[in-house]
Symmetry: C2
Subunit: 310 residues, 2 copies
């Protein structure tokens, strides 16, 4: 499996090793990555993509695993991407943790991957998109993208899933709620986890208050009570996710999201490719220019101008 031609077959058959390799190829810019993408691109668009986001401790992994189990029991194949932009230096920690905890038994119908890579330009969002596409091409029925829900990369990620679920927990402080302010606006479903705790009504009231202050949306995001650890309410949540999916399909939302994703992808690849070209043209001069900027002999715009026109 060292060429795109060799990898494509096992990838489309959904073999875990082929999938893992393909994701790494895309992440690392393997010479064959581009060819592989050209080959799988026409096959995309079948999988349902669910985003699950919330503060640390909100119960994302537990809920992800419960949803995955439920979908497995229906015979679906499920891909899980755990996005962690907070571990730029220690990639792979989450995956390690998940394996150690053994919450999901080895099962060829489930593929888990931790996305914690430090990339150059919008790296994490793009790597996650690539992984979603590869899982889609590999025939996974549902893909769950689990994120901490902070940072621009993650907003880019969750704004591209089909259904974005935002996890809240009763009794967390104001600061914690504030963290999610940005992500609130992309929520398709609110999930109130640990719903046996005091304060669940208060969270619901706050959500209603927030919604009443916002301009009305074509899709009114419902709030689902869940106890992920006990598995309570997970079936109802899945039903709500599917209702949103049906609404998306019926309202042209799926095409709109596909366009958003296409734009994000195009912009990020264009940035990468243009920078690569400009740097290749400039060659050794780059280091001297950076030196001159640092010594304040040359301002950054002037340096860029030299590279682009030189």
């Amino acid at each position: 499996m060292d060429t795109a031609d060799e990898l494509l077959g096992p990838l489309l058959d959904g073999h875990a090793r082929a999938l893992a390799r393909a994701i790494s190829w895309m992440e690392n810019g393997h010479p064959e990555a581009r060819k592989l993408m050209a080959q799988f691109w026409p096959r995309l668009g079948r999988a349902a993509v669910i985003g699950l986001t919330g503060a640390p401790g909100a119960g994302k992994s537990t809920l992800t695993d419960q949803l995955a189990r439920l979908l497995r029991s229906e015979g679906q194949r499920v891909g899980i991407l755990a996005v962690d932009p907070t571990s730029p230096f220690s990639g792979g920690a989450i995956l390690g943790d998940r394996i150690r905890m053994g919450r999901i038994a080895p099962d060829p119908g489930i593929f888990i991957r931790s996305m914690a890579t430090r990339g150059a330009l919008g790296g994490l969002a793009r790597a996650t998109q690539d992984a979603i596409d590869l899982l889609d091409a590999a025939g996974f029925d549902t893909i769950i993208v689990e994120t901490v829900g902070v940072g621009q990369d993650e907003v880019d990620v969750v704004s591209c899933v089909h259904t974005c679920c935002v996890l809240l927990v009763p009794g967390l402080g104001d600061d914690i709620q504030a963290i999610k302010a940005g992500i609130m606006e992309v929520a398709d479903i609110f999930v109130i986890n640990k719903a046996d705790r005091d304060g669940v009504e208060q969270v619901e009231q706050e959500l209603e208050a927030m919604k009443s202050l916002s301009p009305p949306k074509a899709w009114d995001p419902p709030a689902c009570r869940v106890m992920a650890f006990q598995g309570t309410g997970v079936r109802e949540l899945l039903a709500a996710i599917r209702e949103h999916g049906a609404w998306l399909r019926g309202s042209g939302g799926l095409e709109r999201k596909a366009r958003d994703r296409a734009r994000l992808r195009f912009d990020s690849l264009l940035a990468e490719a243009s920078v690569r070209r400009a740097k290749a043209r400039a060659g050794d001069r780059i280091e001297a220019l950076i030196d001159a900027i640092a010594k304040r002999e040359l301002d950054p715009y002037a340096a860029v101008e030299q590279v682009l026109t030189g």
Copy 2:
């Protein structure tokens, strides 16, 4: 103050309105921004730049305000940049909060700005760098950059300040500590805030354990106990920050950081300028290409290739 020439004088004199306008110009890519940068660039390099990072609720704003007050009492002029990558949709929230809370009385020697803008390419990190430079050029003696400490943007920001302080609080859960794993490695000083709480020794022990597992560093980051709300330990923290500053100056670290910042700046401006050029060349074709990608008629690499070679 509608041209760079008109703005430069008031900016270098440190006028708040000129500063605010200049920051906005840089953020929005105002036509005169480039000229302004060329004019102030040779004047940089005087300010001390302190980063303050930690989870929500760790007490960053309180500590920032205490440090600012202390520096003001020494006659310094202090710039505060509150970076919040979690509010991409609701920029300016923090600044509003701060004004409402009125923790810092109106004082021409203090300039506060919230950085929550959604940018195109590495937008937040670059906007923050621009604001640091403008405050530096405007003669502010110390610039405090306050961040939640998550996300790639923020790692980029704090790796460029002179002294990065990481705030910890006794008794926060494992998940919260995990958030900071990425930022730990760029810490120059650990600040244990709310040091009257149970568990302060445990945090210190964990820090020691973490340090003993890491490769030895040229600068061994100390841990300072602080009670920001009461103001206890702030003077000692400032002394530690200055000790680190002296070490930086003596060890060539200041030049190294200037180079890192120059590279970040150059890379991001180069990306922006190359994309702008490529898109200008492609013109109306861009939308048709994005459409074709979304409909899976064309893969993203092929689309980018068409723009760059067309």
